[in-house]
Structures are given as structure tokens and as C-alpha cells.
């Protein structure tokens, strides 16, 4: 068993009087697919936003390879190898598919004005485009590289969002509901691709509602409810965990 790559320690986020995430702790091990599930409003997305640097945690710590990354800005977190995708189709809709992914190579090929003026950036540009092609090829989007991102069908837009993240060459990819709006066929193809990513050594942390995908993909699942840690384990354990079933279906105690 590999050492934890990402450790979440007693993470808490309060919005005024509301505690969205309350003392959450879990570990993500290297080279695994880790699922974060829970009923609506459980604080999954808030947790996600804290790990990626979109929100600052109120309390607690996020540790990446023994370095605390909590409270860093989103681009600083990205530079340390944690890259996220967004819910819905957050893309550069007015840019072409290829340009979208080229932005993803920003960290590997940092733009420079001097190089742009002297023409020395041609090499970088080719490199960036080659990397972008790789990512597009992986997600089967190469044929669309010259169309505008906003014109793609929804499923392809989701895939493009992941291609942008993959082009960042992250160690951990945070996927925010990657299967939303996909038909079963697209979902199963995307699951295959994620398995491929895992076998290439990438670590995935995903928030998802599609239980079929979660159970079929994840090595490890953390379940939250009302901002608190509820249960953790493999798909089998989670599926049969009484607390999880209660959280999703409502317990007999409350009904009675």
C-alpha cells in the first residue's frame, strides 16, 4: 500500500453561521481513484473547492506530500500538481478546442513576451500544441480541434474540460461531477479512460452522484453527510454500510 499523497486533516469551512464542512479528515493514496460522495448539501463541492484553493478553509489543514497547501491560491495549488475541473461546462467557449487545451499547458510552457517578439516562442508553441494534441487524442477529441469549444455537444465539453486538466500534467486531478449530463454509453467510455489514467500513475479524486460510476471505478470512497465524515472504505463496504444507507434513504428512526 502506497503512502498518502494528499491528506485532509480536520478540514472545516463556515459560511457565517453555516458550517458547510465540519472537521473532515481523509487520505488519498497515490495512484488510486478516490470518490467523495454524500447526499445533496453534504459539503462535497465545498471540500473540493478548499482542496483546489478556490476557498480558504476556516480551520484544518490540507497536506500534499508533507507540504501544507491549505489557503494557497488556485494557481499556486495547480503549480504543486493539483488540478481541478469544474461542474457544468466551464470552458473557454469562444476559443477553439485546441486553444483551450493549449491554455492547459501554461505551466509547462510559460509564455514570455520577449520570446513572442523575437520569434523564439515558435518552439514552445509547437511543444504546447503537441502536448495539447496528446490530451485531445486521449479523450477522442482530436477531430474537433478547430471547432469552437462552445459549439461542442455536452458530453464532449465535459471531456474537453478533462483534457484541459490533463494537459496541465497534474499529479492529482480533482474531478467535479465528471459524469453529469453524460449518457450511459459516454459514461462507460469515460470510466475506461479514467482507468487508463489511473494505470498511468495519475491519482484521481472525484465528486460524483452517479453511483454506478463511483462503485465501478473507485478504490476508496469517503462518504460525507451534513458536512461531517460518515464512512470510508471500498465500494463493497460503502454499499453495505448502515450509516451510508441511512444518510441516502433516511433512517427508520427518523421516520418513526
Amino acid at each position: 500500500m502506497s503512502a498518502p499523497l494528499l491528506q485532509v486533516r480536520n478540514l472545516t469551512k463556515r459560511f457565517g453561521g453555516l458550517t458547510a464542512v465540519d472537521g473532515l479528515s481523509f487520505d488519498v493514496r497515490k495512484g488510486t481513484i478516490h470518490g467523495l460522495i454524500g447526499p445533496n448539501g453534504a459539503g462535497k463541492t465545498t471540500t473540493f473547492n478548499m482542496i483546489s484553493g478556490f476557498y480558504k478553509p476556516t480551520e484544518g489543514d490540507i497536506v500534499l506530500r508533507e507540504e501544507s497547501i491549505s489557503g494557497l491560491m488556485m494557481h499556486e495549488v495547480a503549480h504543486r500538481g493539483v488540478v481541478r475541473t469544474f461542474q457544468h461546462s466551464t470552458l473557454f467557449a469562444e476559443m477553439t478546442v485546441l486553444e483551450n487545451v493549449v491554455v492547459g499547458t501554461h505551466m509547462e510552457f510559460p509564455p514570455s513576451i520577449w520570446n513572442a517578439l523575437t520569434g523564439q516562442d515558435a518552439h514552445d508553441r509547437r511543444g504546447a500544441e503537441a502536448k495539447a494534441h496528446e490530451a485531445l487524442e486521449f479523450f477522442g477529441l482530436l477531430a474537433f480541434q478547430h471547432s469552437l469549444a462552445g459549439d461542442l455537444p455536452h458530453g464532449h465539453q465535459r471531456a474537453l474540460g478533462m483534457a484541459v486538466a490533463l494537459a496541465c500534467r497534474p499529479d492529482i486531478m480533482l474531478l467535479d461531477e465528471p459524469f453529469t449530463g453524460m449518457n450511459p454509453e459516454e459514461t462507460s467510455r469515460m470510466m475506461e479512460l479514467m482507468n487508463k489514467l489511473r494505470s498511468s500513475g495519475l491519482t484521481l479524486l472525484l465528486v460524483e452522484h452517479d453511483m454506478h460510476a463511483i462503485m465501478g471505478l473507485c478504490d476508496n470512497i469517503t462518504c460525507m453527510s451534513f458536512g461531517k465524515f460518515l464512512a470510508e472504505g471500498g465500494p463493497q463496504e460503502i454499499r453495505n454500510h448502515p450509516d451510508v444507507i441511512e444518510a441516502y434513504l433516511g433512517g427508520a428512526r427518523h421516520v418513526a
Partner: protein, 329 residues
């Protein structure tokens, strides 16, 4: 090859142009060239999605700096212009600290307020800015007197050529920046700042970079202006000129590089030539405003959208014509 020919014709046209014009139109032509640089630099700022109301005052920073350098320190004119541009960039860098805590509408208001502060400082301090009367008798470029070549830069035609070369080089630089990965990042920051940031883009850094670059070129255009008209005062850079810049950018459209140039040229022609000829002296600002409102209502994508449509139509017409040719060949 065809592109090269087109550029050659454009260059020849621009070189021949002043000789076909009257003296007063030659003067307007010089202002037009300077304003083109101003509005294109403004577009660079809008690439990251921020619209500023302080751009003209930043231009004034370049003008004042360059003028004071020559008057007080005796710096040669082209060098002082570069220092004016650098100073404008530096002032923008300082302003970026308070301003980039804001976005969108608040940035707009903040930029206006901070620009007004700078303008009122020029008005308040007679030393060294000359107070409300501003600076007078600013040196022009030194005359060139090398044997047979004699150039007097008080002549609008001579200054036009000088400004044309400077502006052409600046436009080339701005064009290269926009088409590079830097430009792509500016666009990315504009369209989805969250996604750009998640890809490792330091938003603050790129917004500041666009602001400082745009301001430097605006400062250079201000310096070009100052050494041409020879006198500047705080009112040369008031909000009225800013409204003109906004109108050029909006009527021309900011989606393409040439949009603002188109807006600036067409509206200047309309304002200075057509309306003046027709005798609408006092009503010109009114008509200008009406044009801006009309273009927002009926041409929301600006004049550039007309060019795009015309080019698309041209392609459609020429493509079917080319295909039968292929078959016969």
C-alpha cells in the same frame, strides 16, 4: 506573396497620403495616427476583460513625463518619449495594486477616480506641472540637417512620417503579443478566469501585465502628441477624450485587432471631414453620441462585423467560381 503585395500597397498609400491633403487635413492625419496607437493599446487592456476609464490620463502621464524630461533635464526627444512610455507603465503598475482588488464595474469606477486624482495633481501643482495652464513650448524633434537631407519636424508631413513609423512598430509589437501564448492567456483570463487559474495562470500577474503594457503604449502615444502640438494641459486628457476612445473601440468592435483602428479612422473621418464640411460645428458631439447609441443598438459587434461578413461573402462567391476551374483543369 499576395499578403506582401497588399502590405506594399498599404505602405505606399500611407506614404503618398499626406501629399494629397490640405494643411489642416495633414494635421488631422497626425492626430489620427497617434489616436490609432491610443485605441489599439486600449484594446490590449480590454483583452483581459477589464475596461478602464483612466487610459487617457495614463496617456497624459507619458506626455507630461516626456515634456518635462526635455524641458527640465534636456533629454533628447526620442529618448524622452521612451521614458514617458516607461513612466506611464510604472504609474499603471502602482495603480494596479489598489485597482486589481476590484473587477468589472468597480474597476471602471476605480480607474476613473484614480485617473482624476492624477489629473487634479497636474492642475494643483504649478511646479513642475504648470498648473491649469499646463506646459508650453515643448520641443519638437530636433531638425535633421545632413547635407541634402533637411527635415523640419514642425512640418506635419515630416512628423506624420515619424509618428507613422513609431506607431507601425508599436502595432507590430502589439500584434505579436496578441498572437503569442501571452495573448492566448489574456483571452483565457477574460473568458473563464476560474478555469485559467486552475490551469496555473496567475490572474493578478496577467491582468497587471496587460494593464502595464497597454499603459506604456498609451504613454508613448501621449509623448508623440505632446511633442507635436507643443503644449499640453490637464484638460487635454480629460474625460471627453476618454469618451472618444471608448466610442472608437465600441463602434469599431474589440473582437479583432483591426476593429478599434477601423472605428478610430471612420469616426475621425466622419467627425473632422464630413461633419465639418457640412457645417455642423456645434452639433458634432451630439451626432457623435447618436452614432455611438445607434451602433450599440444596430451594430452591437461593431464595424468589424461588417468586414467579417463581407469577407465571408467574398469567400462564398469565390469558392464556387474556383471549383469549375479545377474540374476543367
Amino acid at each position: 506573396m499576395r499578403n506582401f503585395l497588399i502590405w506594399l500597397i498599404v505602405a505606399a498609400g500611407l506614404i503618398a497620403l499626406p501629399h494629397t491633403l490640405s494643411f489642416s487635413l495633414q494635421e488631422i492625419l497626425v492626430f489620427l495616427v497617434i489616436n490609432v496607437l491610443l485605441v489599439v493599446s486600449y484594446r490590449l487592456l480590454t483583452l483581459t476583460g477589464e475596461w478602464s476609464l483612466g487610459h487617457v490620463v495614463i496617456m497624459g502621464v507619458g506626455a507630461y513625463t516626456s515634456a518635462l524630461m526635455t524641458k527640465r533635464l534636456g533629454v533628447y526627444v526620442p529618448v524622452s518619449m521612451i521614458m514617458g512610455a516607461l513612466m506611464a507603465g510604472f504609474v499603471a503598475f502602482l495603480l494596479s495594486f489598489p485597482l486589481f482588488r476590484m473587477k468589472g464595474f468597480y474597476f471602471l469606477i476605480g480607474s476613473f477616480a484614480s485617473a482624476e486624482i492624477i489629473r487634479l495633481l497636474w492642475k494643483r501643482f504649478r511646479e513642475p506641472f504648470g498648473g491649469p495652464k499646463g506646459l508650453k513650448r515643448i520641443d519638437s524633434l530636433a531638425d535633421i540637417n545632413i547635407g541634402p537631407i533637411q527635415v523640419d519636424f514642425f512640418e506635419p508631413v515630416a512628423y506624420y512620417y515619424f509618428a507613422l513609423i513609431v506607431v507601425a512598430v508599436c502595432l507590430w509589437i502589439l500584434w505579436r503579443i496578441e498572437k503569442s501564448l501571452v495573448g492566448l492567456t489574456f483571452h483565457a483570463v477574460h473568458w473563464q478566469d476560474k478555469l485559467a487559474q486552475a490551469s496555473g495562470v496567475d490572474l493578478r500577474r496577467y491582468r497587471t501585465l496587460a494593464f502595464v503594457l497597454a499603459s506604456s503604449f498609451a504613454g508613448l502615444s501621449g509623448a508623440l502628441l505632446a511633442h507635436y502640438i507643443g503644449t499640453i494641459n490637464p484638460n487635454s486628457f480629460d474625460v471627453e477624450l476618454m469618451v472618444f476612445v471608448l466610442t472608437w473601440a465600441i463602434v469599431g468592435g474589440t473582437a479583432t485587432f483591426y476593429g478599434p483602428i477601423l472605428g478610430c479612422v471612420v469616426l475621425t473621418l466622419l467627425n473632422e471631414v464630413v461633419l465639418r464640411e457640412m457645417g455642423f460645428q456645434q452639433m458634432r458631439p451630439l451626432i457623435y453620441g447618436a452614432i455611438m447609441i445607434g451602433s450599440i443598438l444596430f451594430l452591437p459587434d461593431g464595424l468589424e462585423s461588417l468586414v467579417k461578413r463581407a469577407m465571408a461573402a467574398w469567400k462564398r462567391r469565390s469558392t464556387p467560381a474556383a471549383e469549375p476551374g479545377k474540374e476543367s483543369a
